[in-house]
């Protein structure tokens, strides 16, 4: 059964005019977010995006952008409690949280 997370939250953006159609994003995305249509990338499943940043990191012409990070509640709660900002947290993967992020 397919997993679905919250919809309409991903920060992924494609500047299609810069795209050269190299297909790298299709190659690296682990969630099938892209397809190539008419020699250009197209976002076909935005809500599948987990904001891992692989596509933006590997688009050689900078056509992709995303606020990447790890979707880990432990890290965000740590950030919220210690620094008052969920973005500033780190999760203690080496600690006893057990999560991988």
């Amino acid at each position: 059964m397919k997993h679905l997370y919250l919809s309409g939250v991903s920060t992924l953006k494609l500047a299609v005019e810069k795209c050269t159609g190299c297909e790298r994003c299709v190659e690296v995305c682990p969630h099938g977010v892209f397809e190539i249509h008419n020699h250009r990338a197209k976002i076909i499943a935005l809500d599948n995006c987990m904001e891992c940043g692989a596509c933006a990191q590997n688009c050689a012409v900078g056509a992709l952008s995303v606020r990447n990070g790890v979707g880990c509640a432990v890290a965000m709660i740590n950030g919220l409690m210690t620094k008052g900002d969920p973005d500033k947290g780190t999760c203690d993967c080496g600690g006893d949280s057990g999560s991988c992020c």
């Binding site: 790298r24 099938g32 965000m76 999560s99």
Partner: protein, 354 residues
Amino acid sequence: MTNDNYSRDKGSGAAIPSAPPVCLLSNISLADRFGSVMCRVSNGFRMKYTVTPGLYTLGNPDRNSPVLVTGNYRLSLNALRVSINDRNAWILIVDTKGINVWCAAGKGTFCTKEIVKQLSACDLKSKIAHRTLILPQLGASGASASKVQKESGFSVRFGPVRASDIPAYLDNNCTASPAMRRVRFSFVDRAKLVPMETIPAFKKAGLFLLIAAVLFGMTRNGIMYGLALSGVLPLVIAGLVALFTGTILSPLLLPFIPGRAFSLKGFVTGLTGAIAIIFLLPICRSTPFLTAFNLVSVPAFSSYLAFLFTGSTTYTSPSGVKAELKIAWPLYLVSAAVSGVLLVLVFVRFRGIL
């Protein structure tokens, strides 16, 4: 954690150019199996389950054999050598601090710089005729193919997500089918992660219950064990149910539980659990305060525990987790406060003060 299959004598480590590659044996030993179980239950063990970075060989690679890059987490390397045990290949292991490639890429330890550094440290160019590296697809969030090419001259292809697909990938002229490019999160994948959720949560809950037992059993003449036990038993049950629904049931049944938000899923399972114990066990509804306590605290605690599981999944986005946190966090604080008040009332009633 080195064993003979991997050890490389300390003096000829990766820092020295053209260190001789070490043979990787393909048969998995009993120790490897033990290691893979230990990694699932002990963080301390997992963090030290490493391999020395450097260039390794699988079978008898020649100048045209493929070069596979991976991190120095031994569990991943074991998976790799099991799945391609009949091939000849070069394995370039970069230092990811003993963490698997995906997590290391997210943290930035599996990165362009490390790969380029390891390439020159091992002097790979002198050993092979081609100039292509196969990187694990899940390393792509840390390493940039174009930058690796620019800095090392090696062109990069990304291999499949799962090591077991590598033979098919190699046979298919280094192309992966769309299915090979997708991460999954099967029942078995989730079941493997459950102990890491459950064990720490149990430890914390145990401490809380111990304190509660002391409070319930305290009298002028010292702690009465009978009193402590009968007072704390309903709390033990509530705690166990929340732990069960939050850290075991929610992860295992994940896609079947209504709602998309993890906090909501955990709430649903927790509420179900709370209602179940209230109906089935008279000691869980002996006072209205206790019933109310169960109805508030069990779903909230279960929701919180399920929410923590977002860090272990393969598909939750940071924006999504943040959106959940925004709504769930104030509700957790309110639930904790209400639970605290109800707990005091349960206690007061139990001690006959009310």
